[in-house]
Amino acid sequence: MIEARNLTKSYGATLAVDDLTFDVKPGTVTGFLGPNGAGKTTTMRMIVGLDRPSKGTVTIDGRRYRDLPVPLQEVGALLDAKAFHGGRSGYNHLLCLAQANGIPRRRVDEVLAIVGLDAAAKRRAKAFSLGMGQRLGIAAALLGDPRILIFDEPVNGLDPEGIAWVRRLMRDLAGAGRTVFVSSHLMSEMALTADHVIVIGRGRLIRDESTARFIDSSSTRSVLVRSPSTPRLNELLIREGATVETDPSGALVVVGLDAARVGEIAAQAGVVLHELAPQRASLEEAFMELTSESVEFHATGSTNGGQGDR
């Protein structure tokens, strides 16, 4: 289990991570969501000891990362698709990592087969495509057969086949009882893979709950109603406290009442309905709404040239 307590990281006056407290529980895929620049990468770097927290702590099963006896057997991390020396072959890259933690050499061949790089393993890594680099990074994360896996934006730059492969891999890893902590700036990506989501914006915790609950609570729901007597129905619904708008096709979009209640009101008044459909805001819309106040760099421009997605 990963436990972050009051985790804070500041760069001068900029707070990249602001007092984060959360747990990542075993046997689940936990999504780590936030817009670019929200502090996801910085948080992950602090988990594996690359950055030191300005305040607070983060531990792996109660120990600081640097105190783990065999780090690669406890935590596998993919933080960056290009964190290898391009002059070295994929095989030798994995070999030097395995040796550093006393992991047997045959494990290098095993992980190369898992990620499907066995044929390219003897080539120098600088010739690898982004997708192959990503696979090499995942192979490195799997080297020690760790119980905890940390992936930072693992599908970035991958083709559809690669994306499907990464999703399946994460589900399989969690299915085998491992803890998977994966970041993304795309809510839709997380809806497909994560059981639990931790949402941050501007370094602060916004939500920490199951994906189902998050989707439920953060989607604004509306009901689409089509009726031959639109003005009458409009009046009735407003009287019941709903907010009603008319969409371009002439249908009513009702917010504040659920579909059952709309149906009952229409039936009591004898209004004919041609269509009654609950609508759900897309996940992406919900997520954007939730984090809109916390996006650091709006497209309209900002004078703050800060740290970006560190």
């Binding site: 000891g49 006896p69 933080l79 290898f84 020396h85 030097c96 550093a100």
Partner: protein
Amino acid sequence: MTAKPYSFANVAVSEWTKLRTVRSTFWTFVVGGVLGVGLSALISGVSASHYYSDVVIRATWDPVGRSIRPLLLAQLAFAVLGVLTVTAEYSTGMIRTSLAAVPKRTKMMAAKMTISALSSLVVGEVVAFAAFLVGQTMIHSVQPTVPYATLGQHNVLRVVIGAGLYLALVGLLASGFAVLLRHAAAGIAVIVAMLFIIPGLAAALPTSWSQPIEEYWPTNAGTEVYSLGHGAHALSAWVGLGEMALFTAVVIGVALYVLERRDA
């Protein structure tokens, strides 16, 4: 899996794999060797051919120096290797992967420096012996009547072995600066300033200033091991090399202190 903690030996084996699996290591050593031995052969041969025509050469004739001093150019290759083994981690992004595998940073960097210094020592000794033997052969074959040196003569073996040690030490010092600076260009600039530019500038100062600098500047002190005899004020060979080793240890100590505390 068994959780046997990783040891310094594990990390050293890993660093050896890193060093031998990039081409730049091999080519840097080849350049160092060719530069060292080639220049030594050239200078030894040319000096011998001028032995009878050039009074100054004859009056100050030092056959050991003629074949070992040219290594002062080859030291550049050892410095570059010392810098690159460290800065390649940063320029490629490998450092993040390396430190995730070995979060005890001092252990990782100490293993890296140990391996690159040992490799440089082996190559440095081979280059020093080759430079000496090729140089003496050149002197003897160009002018058979000119005095030449053998390893059995007084202090000659010390000079040759010391030259190899000095080359390895230059690499180690360069690695120390590289850990502090993290960029190849900056690391190489500092070690070149240390080895060539500052001693060169010192010569422009009044003698009362330039003499102590020439004598005690760490890398100058180190080169005392190259000389057979010593002037009235020069440090002895091992004291000089010792001073440079001490300076290197201080630089590395500061570098490791900084490495442990900053963000990777």
